[in-house]
Symmetry: C2
Subunit: 461 residues, 2 copies
């Protein structure tokens, strides 16, 4: 279906098939570039129809949206002949329009007086199966039709900000000489605990999906790479439904050599988050203000508290039997720190060995003798967003840790072998990207920052 | 085990525990920074021992390697007391050394006269289980001990260059306003063909591992993202062992809207490869020369040949029954083009529909009436490195293609639905990163550019 004003013929450039305005797409500009200096010029825009209003046989309006914003298209009978054909169009149909950019009467201070319009599909869009931008359209319904849900600029924005956050992280890491690695997601051994791991048939054997690149990033460091990072999917067969968990998510992991303690890792993380969040605030100043109630601030001078000291702040019921904090305990401590220092971030350090994996290096025991690890978590606005540690890089000590945890050495031997032929002291951290961005933008649910979330019930779209 | 020269005590900075040189790691510099302006200064280096030579009780040498290169450590009895202790060290042990950088007699024109040395592990490295840098150590053996294999700078280099190649690609795409997406690897439906897909148990259902982000990147474009890309693992249950295949690899995928044909996608790819390869040549001028026989050149004016015309160039036995070229046919055509034009790249375009997936848009039929697609492959040095196309974005036509291919509509309905509520014209491409880098660096086998390759027999380390 082509809707065409007569005057288009004069506007089509030399050599372009006159019956195919889609050739004009090469001249297309995005709505953010419809600036005042182009007033009076011919422009081509393309996008989808947000609203249509036919006033009379002489006047009609379309609000066209693209990734960057919206623009009003105005149809007047003197410049566009077949205004009645516009009623054949539907909301969310994708179109291209050629016309003159003018100041006009639209609230945005710019509109396009259209000379030619083309539907970019054979038929107009079918009626939408969900009400977009409607408060009563729940998250599950929105996720069922995620490709329509994301036509709402508000819902697309967290994904755009997440992408930029990642780019800024990589920029920081490149400046620090980190090398990006791509570790395998198939592994021949279940993870340390064997719990919550996805298993699959693999050419007559069993394979497991990596729950984290932990072992492989440490291997990279043992290989002679001094600083490595990876941003890639990880898989957790977690049967729970919470606002913080998915069965797969994009994990940010880094590991680096020649550290002297976990404090080096914490210092790097603070510097990295400061750099990245500062840059993201600059990149999206207006958008973030619209999205969030609380001002987004880069972390500085993050308070550090040893777990031993946290125990005397957090209520007993918020401490687990193995000496960790429950999510409520983390919230409680974060609130205490916020009140005391004003900081939305807090590092909890020196977790007891009982609450940490076998590969965390042992540190100074607590005053009651409880063995601790050179480890930390970072809490941001009451939610744990990072786990990090110095790793044990001595084969014999690792073996002792494996035994102390009652783990099966055979399953871990492939990993333990990395430390037999020389290994540098090293440490690192890992976090879920969506969880960080969820906290930064106060989204309340990691799925708002996930393109297509996966949970125990959701495998589509 | 600490080996220590007496003079160290004077050199340890104020406030540092005198018995722990590892504190000095904070002062560590990498070997590439041991420049002439530091001659006469105290420096701390760390890395692993490549060679040890004890000349006498008064003189010994160690060649220390880090990620960036090597440096000779010289031990003289006047500045380092316990030279005999050095014989307790072993090759590949990780150490830190404090000493004075001097011009010295080493071939590199710099060495360090060591005052203090510390082994960074409890015990020296065990004897290595493989001969590194030995031509008789085959690839499989090397991969069994990949973390040791990669201590060879030559073997690590392709991974470093691959990482930079990715960074340069992203830089180009950021300039072109592409948004990075993170698509799910779990899918509820097998891929279009159902062949070579990994299946797993997923909370009482079946899930499949994504063979490509094809459907999801198209969904992103239907969502209102105009240009998207993803660099992430994909999974193929391919039982074959070839130098070109792995069961998982890092795929580079992009997709963008408002194109007018597959030629727009090809133009973008040429521009992107030109930008990226040019930048990589600049970043690694010397290294690439050492690694490759043929000069690495960025693509320009890539010749384009329609499949219909390729048929009259390529031998009959190198054309498959469905009208594709065999790998030998691609080599044959590439050779022809190289001879004719000197170009190492060639785009083959307009593949017959029989040789392409259902979602490629139909184009002009061949002169004998064979239906073709608006599609292309890019051949580089005789190997196919990219597949791309304009996609069919009209629901009814997609359905016709599904039927023409005899595919199960039910399995594809979730994808087909993306095109019912409006969709822009769009196209894109995908390629395996390791395959591109393998061709760029003439590695001969994608595994040389893969950190930890996975094939039907290999799931470790």
């Amino acid at each position: 279906m082509i809707i065409r004003g007569d005057t288009v013929i004069n506007k089509v450039p030399e050599g372009t098939a006159k019956t195919d305005i889609s050739e004009l797409l090469h001249r297309r500009i995005t709505t953010n570039l419809l600036t005042e200096d182009k007033f009076g010029s011919d422009v081509v825009v393309a996008g989808y129809i947000k609203r249509i209003k036919i006033i009379s046989s002489n006047l009609a309006f379309i609000v066209l949206a693209d990734q960057y914003g919206e623009v009003q298209l105005t149809f007047k009978s003197e410049s566009f002949k077949n205004i009645k054909d516009i009623q054949n169009l539907t909301r969310h149909s994708f179109i291209a329009a050629l016309g003159t950019l003018i100041k006009g009467y639209a609230k945005s201070g710019r509109e396009i007086e259209v000379n030619a319009l083309q539907l970019l599909t054979d038929k107009p869009a079918e009626p939408l199966p969900i009400e977009l931008e409607h408060v009563n359209t729940g998250l599950e319904k929105r996720l069922d039709y995620r490709w329509l849900d994301l036509r709402d600029q508000k819902h697309r924005l967290p994904l755009v900000i997440l992408a930029r956050t990642v780019a800024r992280f990589r920029e920081f890491l490149a400046n620090e000489n980190f090398v990006e690695i791509f570790t395998p997601k198939f592994t021949g051994n279940p993870a340390e605990s064997g719990a919550e791991v996805f298993t699959l048939e693999y050419f007559g054997k069993k394979a497991y999906l990596a729950q984290s690149p932990q072992f492989y990033k440490q291997m990279a460091v043992c290989s002679g790479f001094e600083k490595v990072f990876e941003i890639a999917p990880v898989f957790r067969a977690n049967p729970s439904f919470t606002s913080r968990h998915d069965t797969e998510f994009t994990s940010f992991d880094l590991e680096f050599a020649y550290i002297t303690s976990h404090y080096d890792v914490m210092a790097l993380e603070e510097k990295m988050l400061n750099y990245t969040i500062k840059a993201v605030i600059k990149d999206f100043a207006d958008e973030i203000k619209q999205l969030t109630k609380t001002e987004l601030k880069p972390p500085e001078n993050i308070p550090r508290i040893k777990m031993e000291d946290a125990y005397s702040i957090v209520s007993k019921q918020n401490i687990t039997p193995d000496g960790d904090l429950t999510p409520e305990g983390e919230k409680e401590l974060a609130k205490y720190i916020k009140t005391k220092t004003g900081n939305e971030f807090v590092f909890i350090t020196d977790y007891p060995f009982s609450a940490r994996p076998f590969y965390h290096m042992l540190g100074e025991p607590m005053s009651n003798g409880t063995p601790t690890t050179k480890s930390f978590d970072l809490i941001y606005r009451g939610v744990e967003i990072t786990t990090g540690a110095q790793r044990e890089h001595n084969y014999d000590r690792l073996l002792e840790n494996v035994k102390a945890k009652g783990l099966n050495q055979k399953n871990l031997q492939f990993y333990l072998d990395f430390f037999r032929y020389g290994a540098p002291p090293h440490g690192g951290l890992g976090f879920g990207l969506t969880r960080l961005v969820t906290q930064m933008l106060e989204l309340g649910n990691v799925r708002e920052a996930t393109f297509l979330p996966r949970d125990p019930k959701r495998l589509t779209p």
